[in-house]
C-alpha cells in the first residue's frame, strides 16, 4: 500500500469507522452539553478542529524530540501533554481575546472548554499508541476532529427538530439526546466495512 493510500485510510478510519464521539466516546461532555444550540455546535466544531490539529503537531514534537530520546515516555507523557496543550490553549485564548474580539466571539470562547476536553488529549494518545509519523498524526487529528464536527452537526440538527415535537416526559432533555446518539452510533457502525 502506498503512503498516500495509507493516509487516506487513516483519515476515513478516524472520521467514520472509529468516529471519535459515537464509537470511542471521547468529547461527550460538550457533545451532549452544546448540541442544544446549533451556533454553539458550529463554533465548537471549528475550535476543536483547530486545536486538535495544533495539539497533534505539538505533542508529536514533544514525544519524538524529548520524551522518546530520553526514555521518559512511559511516565511523563500524560503530564507533559496536558500541561503543554492546556497552557498553549490558554495563551491563544488570551491573545485572541485582546487582538480580535470578533474571532474571539465566534471561536475563542470555546477554547477553554477544549483545554480539558478528552477528545484532544485522546487523539494525541491514540497517535502515540499507533506510532504514527508526523504527517499521519496530523491526518488522524484532522479526521477525528471532522468526525466530531459531523457528530455535533447531526445531533444538533436532530435536537432542533425534536424541540418542536411532542415527547413523553420521560424522554425530555438529555435522555432523548442519548438515545438518538445510540441510533446514530448504530448507523456509524455500518461504516465498518469501508476499510479492508
Amino acid at each position: 500500500m502506498s503512503y498516500l493510500a495509507n493516509l487516506a485510510k487513516i483519515f476515513v478510519a478516524s472520521a467514520f469507522v472509529n468516529n471519535i464521539v459515537l464509537l470511542q466516546f471521547l468529547g461527550l461532555c460538550s457533545y451532549i452539553g452544546l448540541t442544544d444550540n446549533m451556533d454553539a455546535s458550529i463554533g465548537m466544531g471549528y475550535a476543536v478542529t483547530f486545536v486538535t490539529v495544533v495539539a497533534a503537531a505539538v505533542t508529536w514534537i514533544i514525544d519524538h524530540w524529548i520524551l522518546i530520546p530520553y526514555h521518559l515516555q512511559p511516565f511523563l507523557q500524560i503530564v507533559s501533554f496536558i500541561l503543554v496543550i492546556g497552557s498553549l490553549v490558554g495563551l491563544v485564548e488570551i491573545y485572541i481575546k485582546k487582538m480580535s474580539p470578533n474571532l474571539y466571539k465566534s471561536m475563542g470562547i470555546y477554547l477553554p472548554l477544549i483545554a480539558t476536553n478528552c477528545l484532544i488529549l485522546g487523539v494525541t494518545f491514540i497517535n502515540s499508541m499507533h506510532n504514527f509519523d508526523f504527517v499521519e498524526s496530523i491526518v488522524e487529528a484532522t479526521g477525528s476532529a471532522l468526525g466530531y464536527f459531523m457528530a455535533m452537526l447531526i445531533l444538533a440538527g436532530i435536537r432542533e427538530r425534536l424541540r418542536n415535537s411532542e415527547l413523553p416526559d420521560f424522554f425530555k432533555g438529555k435522555a432523548i439526546a442519548f438515545m438518538v446518539s445510540g441510533i446514530v452510533a448504530l448507523a456509524f457502525m455500518g461504516f465498518q466495512g469501508m476499510i479492508k
Binding site: C29, I66, S80, Y95, N117
Partner: protein, 99 residues
C-alpha cells in the same frame, strides 16, 4: 539518577515556561470585562466541561451575570457553587447601592 534529573528538569521546565508565559500574557493582553461576570467566574469550578450548555465557564458566568442563566447553572459545582454565586451577586448589589 540521571532519569530523575531529566524528569525533574523536563516537567519543571515546562511548568516554569508556561507559568511565565501565562503570567506575561495575562498582564500584557488584559481585557476589561464586566466585573460581576468576572467575580462569578472566579467561584465557578473551571472544569470547562460544557455540561451547563454554555461553551465553558466564562460564557456561563457572563450568562449568570446578565440573568440569562440561573445561579445554579453549574452542574458540576452543585449546591455549593450555587450558594457561592448567590453570595457574590448579593455582595455586588450591595456595593452598587453604596456607591
Amino acid at each position: 539518577m540521571k532519569t530523575f534529573v531529566i524528569s525533574i528538569l523536563t516537567v519543571g521546565g515546562f511548568g516554569a515556561l508556561f507559568g511565565a508565559l501565562l503570567g506575561y500574557f495575562a498582564e500584557k493582553y488584559k481585557v476589561e470585562e464586566n466585573p460581576l461576570a468576572k467575580a462569578i467566574y472566579d467561584v465557578l469550578p473551571h472544569g470547562e466541561c460544557g455540561a451547563c450548555g454554555f461553551p465553558g465557564c466564562h460564557p456561563c458566568a457572563e450568562a449568570i451575570a446578565e440573568g440569562r442563566a440561573p445561579v445554579d447553572a453549574c452542574v458540576v459545582g452543585g449546591a455549593a457553587t450555587a450558594a457561592k454565586v448567590k453570595k457574590v451577586i448579593e455582595e455586588f448589589k450591595k456595593e452598587k447601592v453604596k456607591s
